[in-house]
Symmetry: C2
Subunit: 373 residues, 2 copies
């Protein structure tokens, strides 16, 4: 099994397709379509050269680190061309406010589009890219990151859109930052560049989920390799079981998408889909989402719930399907996958556990739910 | 008739009561309760000394000039203590962005609370206060100023609230600045400090409505003086007729408030009131408002319409009544008053004429409407 060097590697163009596929998987349905991000990263790499991806430990403790991401509704992001100019402008606005130029770029979210956007920004800026992110998956709101669990402030935060509009937020807490930024993002066209949680290298080392860019690549490559051998799910599951974070996993349901409710509201993609079982027993799996898949349930039996990952994949190719890519009639397999252990602490669950999404049930680890099933 | 020196005067504590009353009149129902502003200004003058108010011509062409105002729904502003700290913090945020410390403070709006807020800020900062503003009255939205008519950009714009939250907006045009700021203001508690339209002295000279702080004082004093003599309306009208801007004026209706619809929506105080005539003929005047009184009408006959001022005053004392001060059963006189000529240009009417408020009729000068009546 190919592994990237843990001491750093260049994000060359040949890695992008697998990295994007793995990021789509880790997006758990959200984070935007990573293939748009891959195209943007490819263009940046061809123009500026491959950025060097390093573990956080390679960054100086005092080095200013800036996150790079797109923010908005994935349904809108797929209708707009993703430019890294907006993300760069957001970082530049934040650098002016902080009075410190960036020494490294840190992904905020490894799931989906936002895994690849920092690759493009790091290439263009000629800065090291940290092999880590703030969640090891995707989440719909800015405060839902391990940085916040660790006490890092979302503010100051900068958002910028394709019209050159940019706004700098200094809110009283992380949820207020999210609320203020979300109001602006809707006003700005529901897809913008954002940089937030400005921090130093020491903080990045302490508060990030590490190695996730490498893991995204590994996941994507396991699917590609398996596809060539005709067993993408076996290959994917074998790779996941070899990782530190995603090793509790399994296929929890196989069937056909028979019901699809999807709407863009409050700047999010909201809704639910139903999958009718292949078993012929008439059982249905309901998956609800807010940008990301939040919970998979048969009747009142939960099979996977945030922050663990619920992933929907094409039943033949194991291609990850995002919330905006769901279609009536698709044949799918639904997987439950454990999140990074740091994401399951009490403080972490307060920020992005079931109740943070309005779900009235406690978090239970996917390994318990699948065994119980 | 007492007049302040046109070459500059100190805004001493003894001027505040009349200045606030005149500002309430020019607020045309909006701009917030000026007596809150007067209390704030009084405290600042007692602590820091009286600020010197000068004509714009006394300011250097290159001197950085910053506006100072509160923004939000007047209905909320009367429920919160007005602190100048929020306005100061907004100016400070804008000074950092512009990289230029303020050399003078300019009122954005002379009507209501926002006439007195700059007095307090100028006192505390020890800066000259320019005897001018951007409308010679009050208006509900940021882009509705002569600065905008003259091509000055609302952005960068800073808003700050009592929790120390501050956000800096850079929007693509003035209406987009208003929309973005309004979203944030609602999020921030519907009453915040704002500084916008950063400009130089030359621009202030060219684009402001001049002499309006002096005029506010003069109007307030005419009411007070007249009240002591028992003829506040005669005194007020005589003074208005002696001014350059407000000289076309008259009482257009006298009666009793019999219907009152007032709601806080989209960050504004919206609604309409009806006044039943004293004449015993059953005729009713309808006055509609968005923070400010926009139009006075009997049946389908308009008697005053924006940007001309519709003012509602207590029938005995000529005390101006704001939209949030309207009460069922009040005996009132309603006045129509001409606005500054610069406010009636085609470009100005596009920004704050009837159609800018969704009213489907052209602007007609109050002098034509009153004569016609």
């Amino acid at each position: 099994m190919t592994r990237l060097s843990e001491n750093g590697f260049d994000v060359t163009a040949d890695l992008l397709e697998d990295m994007a596929r793995g990021a789509a998987f880790l997006g758990a349905g959200g984070g935007g379509d990573p293939y748009l991000g891959a195209m943007t990263a490819l263009h940046a790499i061809q123009t500026y050269g491959a950025p060097h991806c390093v573990p956080a430990s390679a960054i100086g403790d005092d080095d200013p680190v800036y996150t790079a991401a797109m923010m908005g509704a994935p349904t809108v992001m797929v209708e707009k061309l993703t430019g890294i100019e907006e993300v760069e402008a957001a970082i530049a606005a934040l650098e002016r406010v902080m009075g410190k130029p960036a020494k490294a770029i840190l992904p905020a979210e490894i799931g989906g589009l936002n895994a690849l956007v920092p690759v493009a920004v790091a290439a263009k800026r000629g800065l090291p890219l940290i092999d880590a992110d703030g969640m090891g998956r995707a989440f719909p709101e800015l405060q839902m990151v391990t940085f916040a669990v660790d006490g890092v402030s979302t503010s100051p935060l900068a958002v910028c859109n394709e019209h050159g509009e940019y706004h700098v937020i200094n809110a009283r807490n992380n949820k207020a930052s999210e609320d203020a930024a979300r109001r602006l993002v809707i006003e700005m066209g529901a897809a913008v560049g954002v940089s937030c949680y400005p921090m130093d290298g020491a903080t990045a080392k302490r508060s990030a989920v590490h190695g996730t860019l490498s893991l995204a690549y590994g996941i994507g490559k396991a699917i590609s390799d398996g596809r060539r051998r005709g067993d993408p799910f076996d290959s994917l599951i074998a790779y996941l079981k070899s990782t530190d974070y995603y090793n509790k996993c399994g296929i929890i349901f196989s069937g056909k998408v028979v019901d699809l409710d999807r709407r863009t509201e409050r700047g999010f993609t909201l809704g639910a889909c139903k999958v009718l079982s292949n078993e012929g027993d008439g059982s249905e799996l309901e998956v609800i989402y807010q940008n990301e898949y939040l919970r998979a349930r048969v009747g009142d039996r939960t099979l996977a719930i945030v922050p663990d990952l619920t992933c929907i994949l094409d039943a033949e190719t194991a291609e990850p399907i995002t919330t905006e890519g769901l279609r009536y009639g698709q044949r799918v397999k639904v997987m439950g996958v454990s999140c990074a252990p740091v994401m399951r602490s009490k403080a972490a669950l307060d920020l992005f556990g079931p109740r943070a999404f309005g779900l009235d049930e406690p978090f239970r680890p996917v390994e318990d739910l699948i065994v119980a099933a």
